[in-house]
């Protein structure tokens, strides 16, 4: 009997896993030296399921087509000076934070997935990781190309690469990714592939990019949604990874659960920057952070963890704390940048009355009680010519590296202080979530390059604020301080005045 023709799935299997072989001239453990030490047990790599059966020819075709479309939009945006059509120049500050804080993470993801794309023993996940490595390179490069046009007109963008390695608040996203990159390949997959891509990136891209569209930034929404179409492939890889690990061996469950708990919390902390963008930085807000959290974590994450419960996996530890914090973090973060505006590479501003009313409406439980008075006090001080600045450096959390601004779950008037002792030295953390992470791997987090401590040690250009800002390559008076009175504002008003003048 003649052999049967291959179905689509078998054909794809030949195109990928059929390529791989067990090495015999070199031991497999030396060819793959890094995928054993984490304690993960894999009995059968061939049980890996490939949900997207994408061969390279199809990859090139779809990705090439997406890129042609995207760059056509970018070219049109630049030719038509689309930057003059955004809702308000304040909006550009979202892009500053994005390029300095998020885009370098895409680069890290590119190199990280090249690592797992080489060093996981199973060929199925390796091919998926390599495609994701390519995709992540796409994301950082398209983001640079999109925001490059804004850089020609707005301050605070030009030194994004230099700043990412140095500026105090950028150590938050940087350390997040350094953490994943320095972990083993399986933890990296759970950290980035599952916790970040599957559980949390929707919160970054979907409501935020919708915000870009609503604020007239067609170039950013185009790269954002275009990138997100790769993201759905990545999400699928992320969920496949977790299911695969949990199906392979029951001993994997506690290890995976620990990673899920850790990376959910790490991701939640980093996303606080996005919370602030959505609630305060979009001149025309689309959705509050709390609403986005409900849709993309409570609802979507709820379905996901219900599904994973059959493997014994639980909802991440402290998920309920994170949900409770959705009432607070955007306000606490924006207040932090407001008082350190002199040391930030984007502009801050006092929310106007209409915006405060919007926040009161979106946060009926907390805003009027805790945060509105804070803005009103500072507004009063501004009026008296005493714009409020914090002139000392803040205490940082040893793990998430955010200033220790977060409050106790049951008392928003009290900062949540936690600490641990290791070898006679104290390490401060901002929450039970961060403390658990520290206590789990103290040798790792005691290495943190904490910007405030580095400044005091003399490793950031000098002892004074101007020395440090110089080390950051911050263009003082242009990149930093309030939007009101900035060169960005002046330029925007000139464009706008031109429009008004010509219209008359």
């Amino acid at each position: 009997m003649a052999p049967k023709k291959l179905g689509l799935k078998q054909r794809y299997a030949h195109m990928t896993r059929g390529l791989d072989w067990e090495t015999t001239y070199q031991p497999m453990d030396e060819v793959f030296p890094y995928d054993s030490f984490e304690g993960i047990k894999i009995k059968d790599w061939s049980a890996w399921e490939d949900p997207f059966r994408l061969t390279m020819d199809a990859y090139w075709k779809f990705q090439g087509e997406k890129e042609r479309k995207l760059y056509a939009v970018l070219d049109a945006f630049a030719q038509n000076n689309g930057q003059t059509g955004i809702s308000d120049a304040r909006y550009a500050n979202v892009l500053k934070l994005f390029l300095t804080g998020v885009s370098p993470l895409e680069y890290q993801a590119h190199r990280g997935f090249a690592f797992t794309g080489r060093h996981l023993r199973g060929v199925g996940p390796r091919v998926a990781c390599q495609m994701q490595s390519l995709d992540e390179l796409r994301h950082v490069q398209t983001q640079i190309h999109t925001i490059s046009h804004y850089n020609k007109y707005f301050d605070g963008i030009a030194e994004f690469r230099h700043m990412h390695d140095r500026v105090w608040y950028l150590s938050v996203p940087k350390s997040f990714f350094d953490d994943a990159r320095s972990a083993g390949p399986f933890e990296y997959m759970i950290a980035i592939g599952f916790a970040f891509e599957y559980v949390l990136t929707n919160l970054l891209f979907v409501p935020f990019m919708s915000g870009a569209a609503y604020n007239g930034d067609m170039s950013t929404v185009t790269f954002g949604f275009s990138a997100q179409s790769d993201e759905s492939r990545h999400m699928t890889l992320g969920i496949e990874v977790i299911k695969f690990l949990l199906e392979q061996h029951p001993d994997n469950l506690p290890i995976v659960q620990k990673w899920v708990d850790k990376w959910f919390w790490r991701g939640h902390r980093v996303l606080g920057l996005v919370a602030m963008m959505m609630d305060y930085m979009l001149p025309k807000p689309v959705m509050s952070w709390k609403e986005a959290w409900e849709i993309y974590f409570t609802e979507a994450g709820g379905s996901l963890f219900t599904d994973l419960a059959r493997y014994g996996l639980k909802v991440p530890k402290y998920a309920e704390v994170a949900t409770a914090e959705a009432e607070h973090i955007s306000h606490q973060n924006w207040a932090t940048f407001y008082q350190y505006s002199h040391a930030a590479a984007f502009h801050t501003w006092m929310p106007d009355k209409a915006h405060l009313d919007w926040l009161s409406e979106k946060y009926p439980n907390t805003f009027d009680k805790y945060y509105r008075p804070r803005w009103e006090m500072w507004a009063e001080m501004e009026k008296q010519g005493k714009r409020f600045y914090n002139n000392a450096l803040p205490q940082l959390c040893q793990v998430c590296q955010i200033p220790m601004v977060y409050t106790e779950k049951d008392d928003p008037s009290k900062i949540s202080f936690r600490c641990s002792e290791v070898n006679g030295e104290t390490y401060h953390t901002c929450s039970d979530g961060c403390k658990d992470i520290f206590d789990g791997e103290p040798e790792k987090y005691a290495q943190s390059w904490l910007p405030v401590h580095q400044i005091f040690q003399g490793n950031c250009g000098g002892a004074t604020i101007p020395d440090v800002l110089n080390y950051y390559r911050m263009n003082v008076g242009a990149d930093n301080m309030d939007y009101v009175g900035s060169p960005d504002e002046k330029l925007w008003n000139e464009w706008h005045a031109g429009k008004v003048r010509d219209a008359v």
Partner: protein, 329 residues
């Protein structure tokens, strides 16, 4: 009423990013390749030592013995960034599709004598495993390398090798009428046939090489310039009546070698030119891996063509190429 915006108001404040301007020697318009590449990788203030290799930071110049004052000297002459890379490959792949359609519509492989088919199965198809091994090496060079100028083209190359492995696989599926039997037989040859074992041993030995630039030299001057060129460039006579359809179906590989060779030559040449020490190291690596590749290619050339001379031809061409890059062999 007009809402014309005066052009004078739209004079850019700056042309490009600060790190790009410093490299261009002033604030000048930069290309998309430059903005997407230069200084993109993080260099300073890493937080944690990798749990799998704490001797180094995850980006660390010490992961190779060659030393560069600036790893952004070896730029890509093709100026590939993600979009231009993918669009170039999507275009090249349209030709692949046309060629497969041409060959399949006319049943050019199906009509072949079983002996010729058997030779394609044992002599050509196993090369897909060599592409897969090459994919592993280029992924490794990307993850372990230093500086986006070199590492980004490495992941493109990894994608290329996977793509080429899949083109060869498709040839197999045409030969066996989409049943997979030819691919199974070719894998058997790769694993056990005597003429492939030198090649397989060589690529497996590269898998344990931890100096990423040495690996890149082994891959580009050893594997690509000797082994792939032997099969795609010097073995036409082996395929007999199948030579023309094979040439059509592997046109992508021929074009790719010419194009990627320009990149890898430029990288090797630039890094060797940096110092006498680099030149000596790279020369030694090139000599070692070209010699090894020639040795591995001998039995394969004999099986394909009757004697080992094509292996020598390919290796001599690789040596001449290496010398043209400033290496002393």
């Amino acid at each position: 009423m007009t809402v014309q915006i005066k052009t004078i108001d739209l004079e850019p404040k700056r042309q490009t990013f600060g790190h790009i301007a410093r490299r261009l020697g002033g604030d000048k318009p930069a290309t998309r390749y430059q903005e997407a590449t230069l200084d993109l990788q993080a260099t300073d203030n890493f937080h944690y030592k990798p749990q799998w290799e704490p001797e180094f930071w995850h980006y660390d110049t010490r992961k190779t013995a060659v030393v560069m004052e600036d790893w952004y000297k070896p730029l890509d002459p093709r100026q590939f960034y993600y979009a231009t890379y993918n669009i170039a490959r999507a275009n090249a792949n349209q030709a692949v599709e046309r060629n497969f359609t041409f060959v399949e519509d006319r049943d050019l492989l199906g009509k072949l004598d079983p002996a010729v088919k058997a030779k394609l199965i044992s002599g050509l198809l196993p090369i897909r495993h060599l592409h897969w091994g090459s994919n592993m090496n280029m992924s490794e060079a990307c993850q372990r390398g230093y500086g986006t100028a070199v590492t980004a083209p490495c992941i493109f190359s990894a994608g290329d090798h996977l793509g080429m492995a899949q083109i060869v696989s498709r040839i197999g599926l045409v030969l066996d009428e989409q049943t997979g039997t030819a691919l199974d037989a070719a894998k058997e040859a790769w694993l056990n046939a005597a003429e492939w074992q030198g090649v397989r041993k060589l690529i497996e030995d590269t898998f344990v090489e931890r100096d990423w630039f040495k690996l890149l030299v082994a891959q580009t001057l050893g594997v690509n310039a000797v082994l792939l060129d032997l099969v795609y460039k010097h073995a036409d006579a082996a395929w007999g009546p199948a030579a023309v359809p094979v040439a059509m179906l592997t046109e992508f590989m021929a074009d790719w070698r010419a194009e990627e060779g320009k990149w890898s030559d430029h990288v090797v040449k630039t890094v060797a030119a940096e110092s006498e020490a680099n030149k000596a190291l790279i020369s030694e690596w090139a000599k070692t891996w070209i010699d090894r590749a020639e040795e591995a290619a001998g039995p394969l050339a004999t099986a394909l063509l009757g004697d080992a001379s094509a292996a020598k031809t390919a290796a001599d061409a690789a040596r001449a190429r290496a010398r043209s890059l400033g290496l002393t062999l």
